[in-house]
């Protein structure tokens, strides 16, 4: 019996997902130990987003299961999965546009999310947390503006702030730096590195420069399966990895960046 310490926090076991005749994931297994940072790369259509969808319960696996802290979660409704401490940042900025930046953070920071307990106003601790995160994300001056009026980069930062506010055990980041400048990308990489340890983080990204900055173990997906695992330098030297990228010229440009 493995001890609590070595048991992976996220344990994807032989998951297959098919959309009609198309197999997005084929018998895929992936383990991430608690407190680790893991990067997931792979060409378009490799199944990266589908894997995240499966982890958060948006997509049900046709076979196999997803375990979180030893518990099978692949049959729970999405809000229950989120309640266990899994938080996903989507590719497109997913802020709540009708609410202010501060309200976004306050809702994310709430512990009790039931329909009756929601009537409780935010606690001082939650308010402090929201203000800290506004500061951290540089949005203090924009706190009272509806999120819809924020710039694209500000929305990305706000969403990262929301993810941090929720203080999840497992953090799933889907292309967190899409649309960011080089400097913002570097800041985001630094932020993610400080979060690892306290949180377990799984990052998807195309941007090899960003992946390099994260300095973490990389898993390469290809055609719905784990193709290689290792550090980025080793993978870059691997001709088979280069080949699956070079087969798709648009991705190859990223890979060489």
């Amino acid at each position: 019996m493995p001890s609590e310490r070595t048991e992976p926090l996220l344990d994807v076991r032989g998951v297959t997902v098919a959309f009609g005749g198309f197999k997005a994931l084929t018998n895929l297994s992936l383990q991430v130990p608690p407190g680790h940072l893991r990067v997931l790369i792979g060409p378009n259509g490799a199944g990266k987003s589908t894997l995240l969808d499966t982890i958060i319960g948006k997509v049900r696996p046709d076979s196999g299961e997803v375990r979180f802290a030893g518990r099978v979660i692949s049959r729970l409704p999405e809000h229950r999965v989120a309640g266990l401490g899994i938080c996903r940042k989507f590719q497109a900025p997913g802020v709540l546009e009708g609410l202010t930046a501060r309200e976004n953070l306050l809702l994310a920071a709430r512990r009790d999310k039931g329909v009756l307990s929601i009537l409780r106003p935010p606690t001082p601790a939650e308010q402090t947390r929201a203000d800290e995160l506004l500061d951290l994300t540089g949005l203090t001056g924009r706190a009272a503006i509806p999120a819809a009026a924020l710039a694209h980069g500000e929305k990305q930062w706000l969403e990262i702030g929301m993810v941090v506010a929720a203080d999840p055990r497992l953090l799933l980041l889907d292309e967190p730096t899409a649309g960011m400048t080089a400097q913002e990308t570097a800041q985001t990489a630094a932020l993610i590195q400080t979060m690892a340890g306290r949180h377990t983080v799984l990052v998807i990204d195309h941007d090899m420069h960003f992946v390099d900055l994260l300095n973490a173990p990389v898993t390469v997906l290809h055609q719905g399966q784990v193709f290689r695992e290792g550090d980025l330098a080793t993978l870059r030297a691997d001709p088979a990895v280069m080949e699956i990228y070079l087969g798709r010229p648009r991705e190859a440009a990223h890979a060489q960046a």
Binding site: T50, A82, G98, L99, K113, V115, I118, L119, A149
Partner: protein, 359 residues
């Protein structure tokens, strides 16, 4: 907390309306009382549609449940003890139907007015939102349920008095409904209900509950992945809409002294939505005022040119959709606001989206 400008305007309007019996004649006062009763339902539509983004075209169902619940009591009170209501005798019904029996009691009736429409709304909402039915399908389902209810009311003559509706009321809680003093008292009771509906709803929407409803309207999936269960919140909002519609229906029945299927049908439910849209569906005061002014205009236009009314209403609705998506309240506010959802949010197509995400 510092009162908002909207709250101050509401308070001022309610004060002016409170003294209406002193400066209005008998007919205008009766008319005003009626439309104020309807505006309670409009407040419900603001929560359900303006906040939660659920376009229900069947609010007449809950309005009707509240109205009929009270009407059944009034009918039984107006019937000599031991006798059956007159329409049952005409239709050859020999025993009081089981579901009429509880309405002999005034406290049970009041309880039913407050719980029955909300419970029915909760059930309808649970069936829809648990299955993640959204957008135009919700509008179709609510409309269809309303039609089924109206058809049953029309058909079950012996039980509901059919198309004639229930009428000939005399007293309520021992008060003679036909005396002039009652008209004034009923007006104030109605105004109090409007004030309570506006104040209570505004207070509720100011809690994080209101924020979650906005969040669900703008991005239901994102809200779900933050750990909130959108279905539960939508059911709660829909129940509140049902409660307010039911209270509105009961008050309206008292004002008119009758309730019939024609009063609660499709035309009524659509009109309710049109007035709310015109007033401003995101604003409580705006939608209540939109309804009051719209109904008063209806009274004028339809007495002058009965055939023109539907065209006027249709034209107003088109105008609102094209020119004033925030209604008159949005025009007056003119503050930077978050974009509002389209009138009929596009139906979701989960599978293609997942496939496109995956590719």
């Amino acid at each position: 907390m510092k009162p908002s400008p909207g709250a101050l305007v509401t308070l001022a309007l309610l004060l002016i309306l409170a003294f209406a019996p002193l400066y209005l004649g008998a007919y205008p006062l009766t008319l005003l009382g009626r439309v104020l009763a309807l505006s309670v339902a409009a407040v419900g539509v603001t929560v359900v549609w303006g906040r939660a983004g659920i376009l229900s075209l069947g609010q007449g169902l809950f309005f009707g449940l509240g109205g009929y619940a009270l009407a059944m009591h009034l009918k039984l009170t107006a019937t000599p003890p031991g006798d059956l209501p007159d329409f049952m005798v005409y239709n050859g019904v020999e025993r009081l139907p089981w579901f009429w029996a509880p309405f002999a009691s005034a406290p049970l009736t009041l309880l039913a007015v407050l719980t029955l429409p909300a419970a029915a709304a909760g059930l309808v909402a649970w069936l829809m939102f648990r299955r993640r039915i959204t957008g135009v399908y919700v509008s179709i389902i609510t409309q269809a349920l309303l039609l089924a209810f109206v058809t049953w009311l029309n058909g079950a003559q012996g039980l509901t008095s059919g198309t004639n509706g229930i009428t000939d009321f005399q007293t309520f809680l021992g008060i003679d409904l036909r005396s002039p003093g009652t008209t004034r008292g009923l007006y104030w009771v109605t105004l109090a209900a409007v004030a309570l509906a506006l104040g209570g709803t505004a207070a509720l929407l100011r809690t994080p509950f209101g924020q979650v409803l906005t969040a669900i309207r703008d991005n239901e999936n994102r809200t779900r992945f933050l750990g909130f269960n959108p279905a539960a919140f939508k059911i709660a909002a829909f129940m509140l809409g049902g409660l307010l519609a039911g209270v509105s229906g009961a008050l309206y029945t008292l004002h008119l002294g009758t309730i019939s299927p024609a009063m609660i049908g499709t035309a009524f439910s659509l009109e309710l939505v049109v007035w709310v849209a015109l007033g401003g569906r995101a604003s409580l005061l705006g939608s209540a005022a939109g309804l009051v002014l719209g109904q008063l205009a209806k009274d004028r236009v339809s007495s002058a040119a009965p055939d023109a009314w539907l065209y006027v209403m249709g034209a107003l609705f088109v105008l609102v959709v094209l020119v004033l998506p925030q209604g008159v309240a949005g025009l007056l506010a003119r503050r930077p606001r978050a974009p509002q959802p389209p009138l009929q949010p596009a139906a979701p197509s989960p599978v293609p989206r997942e496939v496109s995400d995956a590719l």
